[in-house]
C-alpha cells in the first residue's frame, strides 16, 4: 500500500495558514490538505460536531486517519458530541489498522452546566479509553495550543508513538489566563481592585513561559519540536519506517469490536 514515489518535500507555504495570534481562527482543513498527498483528504461526518475534523487521507501514499481540532468552530473547544465523533473514528482506524495523525489546536473540553447534563464525564473518559487502547502507529502534532486533559487525551494518554509540536505551540495544564485566576485566587483577593488586572496579567505571562514547547520538550512531555514545513516529511517518514517494521496483526485490536454508533 506504500507508494514510495510520492515525494515528502519541505512545505514552505503551510506556516502561513496558521495565524500566530492564539485567538485568531483559521481553516484547519487547509492545513490537513497541505500535509496530506494532494487531493487525498476525504472528510467524514463534515456536518456533525464540527469543532473536530475526522477523515482519511494519504501521506506519501500511506492511508492515514486524521483527527484534528477546528479552531473556526468555538475555537476548537471539544463538546461531548465531538468526543463521540472522535471515538467512533479512532475505533474505525484502529480496527482496520490505519495509522492515526492527530493535529491539536484546542483550548480544551468546553465546560458548562449543559455539557455536564450531556454526560461530559462519560464522553470524555470514553475518548480517553479509546486513545489508550490504540494499537496503530499514531503521531500527534500540537499546531498552536493544547491544554490539560484535552492535550493528555489527544496525545494518546501520553502514549502516541511520536508527540510533536510546532515552535510557537503552547502546551500546559490550563489556558494561562484562566489558570492564573484559579491558582492565585487567594493573593488576588487580598489586592485592591485596581491592581488585580495587572497582577493577573503578570502571573499569566509567568505561567505562559512554562508553556513554551522547548521547556515542555525538555521535561520529555513531547518528543520533538518541528518546523511547520517539515510536518509532512517527518510524519510521512515516520509512518514509512514504523509500518515497515511492524509485524502483521495476529488478532483484532480491542477497538475493532467497539460500537460503531453511540
Amino acid at each position: 500500500m506504500t507508494d514510495t514515489d510520492v515525494p515528502l518535500d519541505y512545505d514552505d507555504q503551510i506556516a502561513q495558514l496558521v495565524p500566530a495570534r492564539r485567538s485568531r481562527a483559521y481553516d484547519m482543513k487547509a492545513v490537513i490538505r497541505r500535509i496530506c498527498d494532494e487531493g487525498s483528504f476525504f472528510e467524514l461526518k463534515p456536518s456533525y460536531a464540527r469543532n473536530i475534523v475526522t477523515g482519511f487521507g494519504r501521506l506519501g501514499g500511506i492511508p492515514v486517519g486524521v483527527l484534528a481540532n477546528a479552531p473556526m468552530r468555538m475555537a476548537g473547544g471539544l463538546t461531548p458530541e465531538c468526543c463521540m465523533k472522535a471515538v467512533s473514528f479512532v475505533a474505525m482506524c484502529d480496527g482496520f489498522g490505519v495509522p492515526l495523525l492527530v493535529l491539536q489546536d484546542t483550548p480544551g473540553f468546553l465546560v458548562s452546566a449543559q455539557a455536564e447534563r450531556d454526560r461530559a464525564i462519560d464522553r470524555v473518559m470514553t475518548l480517553l479509553q479509546a486513545m489508550s487502547l490504540l494499537t496503530v502507529p499514531a503521531v500527534s502534532v500540537v499546531i498552536r495550543k493544547a491544554f490539560g486533559l484535552a492535550f493528555v487525551i489527544l496525545d494518546g494518554n501520553r502514549a502516541v508513538d511520536l508527540s510533536l509540536a510546532w515552535p510557537g505551540a503552547e502546551i500546559g495544564f490550563m489556558d494561562p489566563p484562566v489558570a492564573a485566576n484559579v491558582l492565585f485566587e487567594p493573593q488576588i483577593k487580598q489586592l485592591p481592585e485596581p491592581e488585580r488586572a495587572d497582577f493577573l496579567k503578570a502571573k499569566a505571562a509567568e505561567l505562559g513561559v512554562g508553556f513554551e514547547p522547548y521547556g515542555v520538550a525538555a521535561n520529555l512531555t513531547i518528543d520533538d519540536i518541528i518546523e511547520p514545513g517539515a510536518t509532512r516529511s517527518v510524519v510521512g517518514r515516520y509512518l514509512r519506517t514504523s509500518l515497515a517494521e511492524r509485524p502483521p496483526r495476529t488478532a483484532p485490536s480491542p477497538l475493532a469490536s467497539w460500537p460503531r454508533w453511540y
Binding site: V111, D122, L133, P259, W261, Y262
Partner: protein, 429 residues
C-alpha cells in the same frame, strides 16, 4: 481541597463536620479490617500520611483509596477498588510547575490517567463514591468506574463553578452544575444516596453481587423464595428473583427500562425489565445506554442476563436507531447466559435485541398472551412457526424455568470467564 481531612465550611457551622477519608473508610469496611498503605506523597505541597489501603468488605479483600489513589494495588492484587472521591485532583498540587509535575502527580497517585486504568479492561470491579465535591481527576475516575454512588450535596463535574465563572463567565451553583439532580437524570450516577450511611450500604451491596475479579467464582448465596407474582416492572423482578435481592441501578434515568442486579436461586444476575407504566416500556435511546452499561458489566464479571420484555414499536427519536444498534451489538458480543422472558409486546428494539442475539445457550420464553413483531400492527402470538421461542411458559412457572436453565448452563460452581470481548468496551454509557 484535595484532602478529606479539610475542616468543614466555616459558613456552615451548624452542620456536623464532614467525615475524613479515614472515617469514611472505617464506616464502609468490616470493623477493624483497614490497613493503610504507607504511601507518602513526597515533594508535593501537601503530604498525606495515607491515601488508602486494604480492607475487607463482607470478608472479601478490597483496596480503598482517595479519588483513585493507590488503585494499582487493587489491579495488582486482583480485587475490587473503591474510590472515596472528593477534591480537585492534580491541578492545585501540580499546576504551578506545569505538565511535568502534573504527570508526577497523576503517576504517583495512580488516578484515571494510569495506563492500566485508562485502557480499562474490567479485570476487577471499580467503584466511585462521590462523598464531596469532585472535580478534575476525582471526576474523571467516575467515568472509568463500573459503579458510581453520589451523596446528596456533593457536586460531580469535570471542573468546578469557579473555573466556569472565570473561564466562561457562566454562573452556576454546585447543585446546578453537578448535583444529584443532574446525575440522577443523565445516568452518570448509578445510585443517589441521602446519607453517608446509604453510600456505604450501596457499595457493599453492589460488590456483593460480583466476583472479586474476572475469572473468579461467582458469589452464589443460599436460595431465597421469590415475591408474589406480578406482571410487570419492579414487582415482576421481585416475583422472578430472590425476595429482597433486587438492587436497582440508575433508577431515575430512562425509567421505561428498569435495570439492576439481583439473585435467582442464589445466583447473581443482571436484570433488565421493561416498565410499561413509564414511557410505555420503550427501549428509548437513553434506555439503550442504560442497558448497554449493565450488559458490559455483567459480561465482564460473568453474571447471566435476564431480560423481561414488554416494549412497543419504535418511535422516531434522535439517536434512537444508533443506540439500539449499539445495544444489539453488546448483547450479541456478551458471552454470559442470556435469558429473555417475553411478557407482553416484543416490538421495536425489544424485538431487535431479542431476535438476532440468539446463540446456543440462550433461552427465550414467552407468556401465553405475548406478541412479537417489529411494528405493533404486524405482531403475532408466540408459536415456533412465527418467532423462535423456546417455549410458552405460564407466568407462575417462569422463575422455575429460568432457574433450571441457569443451573443447567452454569453448573454447580459458576465461575466468571476472563478475557471477554466486552471487557474493553467503554465503561460510561
Amino acid at each position: 481541597m484535595t484532602h478529606a481531612t479539610a475542616p468543614a465550611d466555616k459558613a456552615n457551622k451548624a452542620k456536623p463536620p464532614r467525615p475524613t477519608l479515614r472515617e469514611h473508610i472505617d464506616r464502609l469496611v468490616d470493623p477493624g479490617s483497614y490497613t493503610p498503605a504507607q504511601h507518602f506523597s513526597e515533594g508535593m505541597d501537601q503530604v498525606s500520611e495515607a491515601d488508602g489501603g486494604e480492607a475487607l468488605i463482607d470478608g472479601r479483600p478490597v483496596t480503598v483509596g482517595l479519588s483513585g489513589h493507590v488503585v494499582m494495588r487493587a489491579l495488582n492484587r486482583r480485587h475490587p477498588y473503591v474510590a472515596i472521591s472528593s477534591g480537585t485532583g492534580g491541578l492545585a498540587r501540580g499546576g504551578r510547575r506545569n505538565l511535568g509535575v502534573l504527570d508526577t502527580v497523576w503517576g504517583m497517585s495512580g488516578g484515571p490517567m494510569l495506563a492500566e486504568m485508562a485502557s480499562r479492561r474490567r479485570d476487577v470491579p471499580v467503584v466511585s463514591a462521590i462523598v464531596h465535591h469532585s472535580f478534575g481527576d476525582s471526576s474523571f475516575f467516575t467515568g472509568l468506574s463500573d459503579y458510581v454512588v453520589q451523596l446528596k450535596g456533593a457536586c460531580l463535574a469535570l471542573t468546578g463553578p469557579r473555573v466556569l465563572a472565570i473561564g466562561t463567565s457562566e454562573q452556576v451553583t454546585m447543585e446546578e452544575l453537578g448535583g444529584t439532580d443532574v446525575h440522577r437524570h443523565n445516568g452518570q450516577a448509578d445510585t443517589i444516596a441521602e446519607t453517608p450511611g446509604e453510600v456505604y450500604t450501596a457499595i457493599r451491596r453492589f460488590l456483593s453481587f460480583l466476583p472479586s475479579a474476572a475469572g473468579a467464582p461467582l458469589p452464589v448465596t443460599a436460595p431465597q423464595p421469590a415475591g408474589p407474582l406480578e406482571p410487570r416492572g419492579r414487582p415482576l423482578i421481585e416475583a422472578l428473583c430472590d425476595r429482597g435481592s433486587f438492587f436497582e441501578l440508575r433508577r431515575d434515568f430512562a425509567p421505561s427500562l428498569v435495570t439492576g442486579l439481583a439473585r435467582l436461586d442464589g445466583i447473581p444476575v443482571g436484570v433488565l425489565a421493561s416498565d410499561p407504566a413509564a414511557g410505555d416500556g420503550a427501549y428509548s435511546a437513553d434506555a439503550c445506554l442504560k442497558a448497554t452499561r449493565l450488559v458490559c458489566t455483567a459480561d465482564a464479571f460473568g453474571l447471566p442476563l435476564v431480560f423481561a420484555v414488554d416494549s412497543p414499536e419504535p418511535r422516531t427519536e434522535q439517536a434512537g436507531i444508533s443506540r439500539a444498534m449499539m445495544l444489539a451489538q453488546a448483547v450479541q458480543l456478551a458471552e454470559v447466559p442470556k435469558c429473555w422472558v417475553i411478557t407482553g409486546r416484543a416490538s421495536g428494539v425489544g424485538l431487535l435485541v431479542t431476535g438476532p442475539a440468539r446463540i446456543a445457550t440462550d433461552l427465550v420464553i414467552a407468556w401465553p398472551d405475548a406478541r412479537a413483531g417489529y411494528y405493533d400492527g404486524e405482531s403475532c402470538p408466540p408459536d415456533e412457526q412465527h418467532w423462535a421461542a423456546d417455549g410458552i411458559v405460564s407466568p407462575a412457572d417462569t422463575r422455575s424455568t429460568l432457574v433450571a436453565h441457569l443451573r443447567a448452563v452454569l453448573g454447580p460452581a459458576p465461575v466468571s470467564k476472563p478475557g471477554r470481548i466486552l471487557r474493553t468496551w467503554p465503561v460510561g454509557f
